[in-house]
């Protein structure tokens, strides 16, 4: 028999580049780069230096003040002088129910925000009565812990979200969070419960 030196053909490696690219793209898509999460808020416009400092007069019944002192004790009050309700030593979790009642004012109490027909009329719901002048103001001391402040903000957000969900369920049979944010339904719901948490420096609220 003839002694033949057999040559093994070299592997065709040209497709390996493609394979490694597929691998690369796979990992590109699957590895979640740590996405940031948090409470999204909007600050008010900066004060205009040319404009005279004028105290915005807000009716006492329209303001819910949540105040935290340096020892992280929370208290809140709302209503006019004569019908003022003041509660000391509350926990952040309690604020959700308080804020919900204050914003919606279901029993139309005199020391909670008054109703105005929506102007301009809301999509779908029209001139729905809205507590549009209400404000929730969170006041803190410079030594208040950020965590307490954050929990308060979180509960207030939760109050708005629950109210919006309830209204959306009642009117449209769907949760607000499942609505398209740009749709007429969502616009209407936001019109009824506009988020009004004051982020500004604490101001003096006076007048009646």
């Amino acid at each position: 028999m003839a002694k033949k030196k057999r040559k093994v053909p070299g592997l065709n490696g040209s497709s390996l580049a493609d394979i490694s690219f597929i691998l690369l793209i796979f990992f590109l898509i699957t590895t979640s780069m740590d996405t940031d999460t948090g409470l999204v808020r909007r600050l008010p416009n900066p004060p205009d230096p040319n404009q005279q400092e004028e105290d915005v007069k807000v009716k006492g019944r329209n303001v819910l003040v949540v105040s935290v002192n340096m020892n992280n004790d929370i208290m809140y009050y709302y209503g006019d002088e004569s019908k003022r309700v003041t509660v000391n030593d509350v926990k952040p979790e309690d604020l959700r129910a308080v804020a919900k009642e204050f914003i919606a004012n279901p029993e139309n109490k005199a020391n909670m925000p008054e109703f105005h027909p929506a102007d301009p009329p809301l999509p779908i719901l029209g001139a729905y009565p809205v507590t549009k002048n209400h404000i929730i103001s969170v006041q803190t001391d410079r030594s208040t812990s950020y965590d307490v402040y954050f929990q308060i903000q979180n509960e207030l957000m939760a109050a708005y979200n629950e109210l919006r969900d309830e209204l959306a369920r009642e009117k449209f049979g769907r949760y607000y969070r499942h609505l398209d944010p740009e749709s007429d339904e969502a616009l209407a719901i936001r019109g009824v419960y506009p988020m009004k948490i004051s982020e500004a420096e604490p101001k003096k609220y006076g007048g009646n």
Partner: protein, 154 residues
């Protein structure tokens, strides 16, 4: 039989290594991806609070970061243990925030500028005084969309 010829090729054929660079590259890319891409090296420690109403930030290109917390161990001898602000790669004071926001905004495309967000990564033990100062500085700089960075609480 020819098929079972023992005298055939005895030596093992050489491995083709021309694809090795590709493999190495894919592994390299993999590690590039999984190690969390953080543009800055953190010089402050912080643990963000936990909330229930948090949202995901969709577009990373729109987000700038402000870190507030205590300096990490290696900087404590120099910077002390008080609460500090970090912008980009370095410690900063409150009055540097305006300039920082301006630079961040300039690096964005014209279309994205109105949607700029500032994520505040603040340690939960921080006192509100510095937070209020930062917020006022952001307001002055017209960076009005802010995010209190937080984790999800069950």
């Amino acid at each position: 039989m020819g098929k079972f010829n023992k005298n055939g090729s005895k030596e093992v054929p050489e491995l083709n290594t021309s694809s090795l660079p590709d493999l190495i590259f894919s592994i390299l890319f993999f590690f590039m991806m999984v190690t969390s891409m953080r543009e800055v090296t953190l010089k402050v420690e912080f643990q963000t609070p936990k909330g229930t109403e948090i949202e995901k930030l969709e577009k990373k290109s729109l987000v700038s970061y402000v870190y507030i917390g205590r300096p990490t161990k290696e900087f404590r001898s120099k910077m002390g243990t008080g609460t500090r602000i970090q912008l980009n790669d370095d410690f900063a004071e409150v009055d540097a925030i305006g300039e920082y926001v301006y630079q961040e905004r300039e690096s964005m495309s014209e279309r994205d500028k109105p949607f700029m967000k500032v994520s505040l990564k603040i340690d939960q033990e921080t006192q509100m005084g510095i937070v209020t100062d930062v917020k006022m500085a952001l307001r002055e700089a017209w960076a009005l969309n802010i995010v209190y960075s937080a984790g999800k609480r069950q």
